[in-house]
Subunit: 219 residues, 2 copies
DNA sequence: TCTATCTTGTGACAAAATTCACATACTAAT
DNA sequence: ATTAGTATGTGAATTTTGTCACAAGATAGA
């Protein structure tokens, strides 16, 4: 760690395989650092950061160690610098183009969500099959027909698709956006989605979260 | 496994500590079994079930083994019976009383969500601070003021609170529902919540899911 | 009844994630 | 400068989670 090759912090770590959970925590750190920066806090230790997030300090350090050395012994981390590094790692230092498919109850909530557009994310399109929705504008985003979905996704250069449609239509729509070359999907539909390995799918499953809470109600 | 004491299937397994992930998967199995039952499929093997869910068959068996022996060697599992057993384990064989706090964009989507009321879950109350919301009815649920939140939660016998309010109000509201004796919280607010160990909190963090997807967009 | 064929349930193994604990390195203050 | 104090980064230990592989139990057909 004095002058070994992997001391080169500017290189994204393709070297090892990074656990999925580490990436999620990086995102968590990023948000907390944002808050700290906003409060004009300039430096923070792994201990303090982990206390704020309710976790273990060594885990924070280990997580960061996957990508380089960002801290200063005896001091901790500089908030702004660490935030910038994490954003670079997560690639949220650029604009991420999001397409929403399904502008029903959930889709509308998502469009209304300030944090959705927050910082790097930009909703470049919203699609729906219903004539009731097509042409309407929600929070500045105009709803389009799914007729030319595949072409539109391609043309708009969407990076991520957010899926909020009924379960029975999910797989067909996934097939379309996969053909359109999308590489990441945030799926709110409570159904398994089959697609090529290379495409990253994150499931958000409200039903599971709620139902599994029930288990812990036992006295 | 012939006549050991733990062969008693009717006892909920307090014996070992059950991993959180196991409980979530149980809920996943439950939903899939529901679908299978609906399609009049009467039996299924761990292999078939795991294929449907995109996972490993041994994991299915191990998960179930925490709670007893539900299968028939050479045959598999009887769908209805297994479903009933899992629901018993998850305690979704009774009514679960849910209180929603925060009837904004997200809260309204949740109220509209059929799957929310699905089966065992019943929304017994919705609360909001805004006069614009109080008194209005969404999907059959009337919005109440938070003025007597603590008493109401107690009186209504809510089991689970779903939190969908702005981050800055989250902790104060949590403190209230904790005092009211709630034991489980489904938290949509992107902020850490501090409460007694005994209370189970599940976080659903859309921001993290979206942001962490960004990482995988690297070519 | 016997046999061939399944599939379970689980002990043993492997992998992954988390936590510990400390040598090392920097700060800050005298 | 020197020193006392502090926090990093990381091997090693531990805990947790997932997979393998197979003996044993059950089916189904002859
Ligand atoms: N509402 C919630 O709180 C909630 C929570 C968790 C999960 N979900 C899931 O999210 C999905 C959407 O839920 P919702 O409550 O918004 O439903 P919804 O019925 O309100 O909205 C679905 C929308 O999708 C549109 N649609 C249908 N097929 C489409 C297609 N092929 N392409 C584009 N648009 C299409 C419909 O016209 C409708 O506007 C469902 O799968 C649901 O299970 C919803
Ligand atoms: N909308 C989304 O898609 C979405 C997605 C993920 C997370 N979230 C999070 O969910 C929360 C709610 O989001 P939203 O978009 O519905 O916001 P919103 O502003 O539309 O709704 C918030 C509602 O909470 C009410 N409220 C405020 N303080 C309250 C209190 N102390 N008790 C009861 N009610 C109170 C407000 O009157 C309002 O009706 C936020 O923390 C947000 O970050 C929203």
């Amino acid at each position: 760690m004095t002058d070994s090759p992997k001391n080169d912090v500017s290189v994204a770590a393709d070297e090892k395989k990074i656990p999925k959970a580490v990436i999620k925590r990086l995102s968590l750190y990023s948000r907390m650092l944002q808050e700290l920066e906003h409060k004009n806090i300039t430096k923070i230790s792994s201990k303090e950061l982990s206390d704020l997030l309710g976790m273990n300090p060594a885990k924070v350090r280990k997580d960061l160690a996957y990508f380089g050395q960002f801290g200063v012994p005896g001091l901790g981390y500089y908030v702004s610098e660490l935030k910038a590094q994490i954003k670079r790692i997560l690639r949220t230092d650029r604009e991420i183009r999001v397409a929403l498919i399904g502008v029903g109850h959930l889709g509308q909530a998502l469009l209304a969500y300030g944090g959705f557009l927050r910082q790097s994310f930009r909703v470049v399109a919203a699609f729906d099959t219903s004539p009731d929705k097509i042409g309407r504008t929600f929070n500045g985003v105009k709803v389009m027909s799914t007729e030319h979905l595949e072409d539109q996704i391609r043309t708009l250069g969407a990076d991520i698709v957010v899926l909020a449609i009924p379960a029975e239509n999910a797989q067909a729509t996934v097939d379309q956006v996969v053909r359109a070359g999308i590489r990441a999907i945030l799926n709110f539909v409570p159904a398994r989605i089959v697609c090529p390995e290379a495409i990253k799918v994150h499931y958000v499953d409200l039903g599971i979260e709620l139902e599994s809470l029930s288990y812990y109600l036992k006295d």
